[in-house]
């Protein structure tokens, strides 16, 4: 009895000094690498001559070209949101409610775009539909620049980002309480009426959330607007051009703020919607299996949607592969591996650096994510709400804005990180942190606190409990977080374009510059290597995880 009492005494929060030290440390890291760069960016945008001033913002807004960019950004985002949501809803509906063959294949193909850099879409679209594209020029004999601009961007972004909306809606469709529909059916409503009066109203918040999600992705995309933008300027590419073309940092920062504000608003709106979606499906999960529609017309329709969309996606990847293995795609289709050898000779450093830094980021993000998840879910420390909020901010901040904030914040003493590997690892891991935290929190919530208590009662300190009891149980979540961080890191362009340096080159900016030079073959070869690498990590790091990491995204 006395021993037990002593043990409890040891485990009082005040005595667990390691965690007591780690808490402020984690908070400091989050403040330094998430809050501070945003503040620095705001300072650059809203200060002139050392005083707070809205002059840079006003000047940016007064220019017709920038106003056009703002309008275009909204127009593009809206189109992508609506089109993408419709497609994703149809796809998800077909997958959950219609009996059809090949579901595993459709699911795999629909998710393929989530693991490739978005510029891959631009690359294959140029190869297929560009001025010298296989379809437009060789098959149809057209010489058109129609791809470059609004429509090209719509297609590229819908293809790149619809899978995220699909996943969101897939979970929603699965989670809807089947008994409600069944009850309506039993009371005599025909299926159409059930859909209109029961299912759809339940789905509205989810559909809205998918729209907002897609809107946010479209907003943040940099690669596609740079490559396919043509005469269609959008905000993210204007930020890049203000900085790279005009050397004008205050203007770039002001434009970044214009991009950040709506993105942040959208994020909180989406969070609000997701909370409502959660209510809609409470109690429904797994309660009843949804009846599968077997009507031939519905099956055919579902196959057309899933098959058609999958075909388009397969075409994209096949084109990139073809572009990588032919001398000049569409002009000289002789098989060759020279693009691969050129890439392995010329861009080996970029590949090695990208992998090394991606792994480092995965480790950093996993450690920090687990710690913060623990503090948020298991402790009542002062300011943990604030910590949770700040650590989740990167979800709301477009990559270009994070990258620019990093470049501005860490180029002077005492935080001189420009040109180091550290700044890249930090940018990578901070962007992925919300996901690792979220999967950590979700996992912790499934572990009953009585386990902690049992461990504590047996005399373990809180550190020991975390290390010996919780961590082994959290393993799947930790690994999922690491895989996510790695994938996200090696495929991002927007977050790193301002922080790469001669000693640390990365794959995505290399692909961009290869495309600029017109070396489409090398760009395609490097993209293929990157996609294969990520696929190997996702499927090769064996299925230690019970679920796909993307489903938590």
């Amino acid at each position: 009895m006395t021993a037990l009492a002593a043990g409890r005494g040891l485990s009082e929060p005040g005595r667990s000094w390691a965690l007591a030290l780690l808490y402020p440390l984690a908070a400091a890291i989050v403040a330094l690498f998430i809050a501070y760069p945003v503040v620095e960016l705001l300072a650059h945008a809203a200060m002139s001559d050392g005083r707070v001033s809205f002059a840079p913002l006003a000047r940016v807004l007064s220019e017709p070209y920038n106003r056009q960019a703002i309008y275009n950004t909204l127009l593009l985002g809206l189109t992508v949101a609506v089109l993408g949501t419709i497609l994703a809803a149809l796809y998800a509906y077909a997958m959950t409610r219609v009996e059809m063959p090949g579901k595993a294949v459709w699911h795999f193909l629909a998710l393929l775009p989530t693991i490739s850099p978005p510029i891959l879409m631009a690359l294959s679209l140029i190869l297929l539909y560009g001025r010298r594209g296989l379809v437009t020029h060789e098959l149809l004999g057209l010489q058109t620049t129609a791809l470059y601009g609004y429509w090209g961007l719509v297609v590229a972004q819908v293809l790149s980002y619809f899978p995220f909306a699909y996943l969101l809606l897939l979970n929603l469709f699965r989670g809807l309480d089947a008994s409600l529909e069944e009850a309506a059916g039993t009371m005599g409503a025909h299926p159409g009426k059930v859909l209109a009066t029961v299912s759809l109203p339940l789905l509205v918040p989810g559909l809205a959330a998918a729209c907002v999600l897609l809107f946010g992705y479209s907003f943040a995309d940099l690669g596609n607007p740079l490559l396919l933008g043509g005469d269609f300027p959008v905000l993210s590419s204007q930020i890049y051009l203000a900085i790279i073309g005009q050397y004008n940092i205050p203007r770039g920062a002001a434009l970044a703020i214009l991009l950040l504000l709506p993105a942040a608003l959208l994020f909180f709106f989406q969070k609000h919607l997701s909370a409502r979606t959660a209510h809609a499906s409470v109690g429904g999960r797994g309660a009843l299996r949804h009846p599968q529609v077997r009507h031939p017309a519905a099956k055919a329709g579902a196959l057309v949607v899933c098959g058609g969309m999958s075909l388009v996606i397969v075409m994209q990847y096949a084109t990139v592969l073809a572009g990588a293995t032919t001398r000049i795609f569409g002009i000289n289709n002789t098989f060759t591996l020279r693009h691969f050898s050129a890439v392995l000779a010329g861009s080996r450093n970029a590949l090695v650096d990208t992998i090394g830094l991606g792994v480092a980021a995965a480790i950093a993000s996993a450690i920090l994510g687990v710690l913060i998840a623990y503090f948020v879910a298991r402790t009542r420390r002062f300011g943990r709400g604030m910590l949770d909020f700040t650590a989740n901010l990167p979800l709301a901040i477009p990559g270009t804005v994070i990258g620019l904030g990093f470049a501005l914040a860490f180029n002077h003493r005492p935080l001189l990180l420009t040109g180091t590997a550290f700044i890249i690892v930090a940018a990578f891991s901070m962007r992925a942190l919300p996901y690792t935290i979220r999967s950590g929190v979700a996992a912790l919530q499934q572990i009953h606190p009585s386990l902690d208590e049992a461990s504590t009662n047996l005399g373990a300190t809180r550190e020991q409990t975390l290390w010996r009891v919780l961590l082994p149980l959290l393993r799947p979540a930790v690994i999922a977080g690491m895989i996510f961080t790695f994938t996200r890191s090696v495929t991002t362009l927007s977050a790193v374009i301002f922080v790469v340096s001669p000693h640390w080159s990365l794959v995505t900016p290399t692909i961009l510059s290869q495309m600029d030079r017109g070396d489409l073959g090398e760009a395609a070869a490097l993209s293929v290597i990157l996609v294969v690498l990520v696929l190997a990590v996702i499927h090769g790091v064996p299925r230690l995880v019970g679920r796909d990491w993307r489903e938590s995204a």
């Binding site: 070209y65 050397y247 420009t418 082994p472 393993r475 001669p502 510059s513």
Partner: protein, 343 residues
């Protein structure tokens, strides 16, 4: 499925940390030189290799466009990462100089270079020069029964509607040189009027200055406005391209080598500047298919370049074009008056 235990996890973390160590060590210097370079990758590699062979110093370079280079060097003001900026046009170098980001160095090798190609105080030294030319796809000319454009005015003719490509002045050095050439040649008012008429024929303003080479080479557009080295490079590769020069006179740029302020490897950097101005070094440019005119009169001219050595050049005002305010004004006006109207 094997359970991964705590010890395994520790091992993974340690292994990850250990694998990161060699990366961390790589950033240090010692008989090394870090350069930012503007020419195409292949030329950068040839120059870097040539220097390594000659000096034994290990160079690391990053290829950047003029804008990327300036932005980066400004951002690194407090911790310069590179010692040398090489092969970027003079206007950008003047921008850096006015920002106080350069260090003067009068190389003994610069003595051989004519005065107009170097700064008297050694802030910058031009290693090679190049002018703006007009590249026409031969098949396009044949099909349309046209002669290659002989003047800036020719480019506004209806035959070229939708057939012209040039780098955007907002993002490419080529585009900016084109824009400033037109304004200097025709004056403020007439120049902008010309640009509007010219714009009506433009298919696309590409993001990088070299972008139109491929487009013209493959016949995606008929005519491109490019630096001559890019045009000659494509001709050398066998693309069906013809180069012509505008009879009103054309603008040019002087590609310089500069020592960056606070260079981490000053000794190696000076050795590089000395070497980069020698005939042996500038001849590497043409050897790697980058056909510029060397400023060093002792260097041999490549056969492809010879016919153009007496090209009619305007007296390009670098101080005007290189001023940050002028650049900002011109690009703003270009975006708001020319680009904003395009659909």
């Amino acid at each position: 499925m094997r359970q991964l235990n705590r010890r395994d996890f520790t091992k993974i973390v340690l292994a990850g940390a250990a694998s990161a160590l060699p990366f961390a060590a790589r950033a240090q210097s010692g008989g090394k030189l870090t350069l930012y370079m503007g020419p195409p990758e292949k030329t950068c590699a040839a120059v870097a290799q040539g220097f390594e062979k000659k000096s034994g110093i290990k160079p690391t370079f990053l290829r950047l466009s003029a804008g990327e280079a300036i932005n980066r060097i400004r951002a690194e003001r407090n911790a310069p990462q590179a010692s040398i900026l090489y092969g970027i046009g003079l206007p950008s170098m003047l921008t850096l100089k006015s920002d106080g980001l350069l260090e003067p160095y009068k190389s003994p090798e610069a003595a051989a270079i004519p005065a107009k190609y170097k700064d008297p105080d050694g802030w910058w030294t031009g290693s090679d020069a190049d002018f703006i030319g007009i590249a026409s796809n031969k098949k396009f000319l044949q099909e349309k029964g046209l002669k290659a454009p002989q003047s800036w005015e020719d480019l506004t003719k209806p035959q070229y509607a939708g057939q012209i490509c040039v780098g955007s002045p907002a993002t490419s050095g080529t585009g900016y040189t084109f824009l400033t050439t037109i304004i200097q040649l025709m004056g403020e008012q007439k120049g902008w009027e010309y640009l509007k008429r010219f714009n009506a024929n433009v298919s696309q303003y590409t993001r990088s200055g070299i972008g139109p080479t491929q487009l013209v080479g493959r016949g995606e557009v008929g005519v491109g406005i490019l630096f001559a080295h890019d045009i000659l490079g494509s001709i050398d590769k066998g693309f069906p391209i013809e180069m012509s020069l505008p009879q009103e006179g054309t603008g040019y740029d002087l590609f310089c080598v500069v020592l960056l302020k606070g260079a981490p490897e000053p000794v190696e950097a000076k050795r590089f500047i000395d070497w980069s101005l020698t005939p042996e070094a500038v001849e590497l440019l043409a050897a790697s298919e980058y056909f510029d005119v060397p400023t060093n009169p002792k260097a041999k001219l490549h056969d492809l370049v010879k016919p153009y050595q007496n090209a009619k050049l305007i007296d390009y005002d670098f101080n005007w074009a290189g001023s940050a305010t002028v650049r900002q004004q011109l690009i703003d006006r270009f975006q708001n008056e020319i680009l904003a109207g395009r659909k």
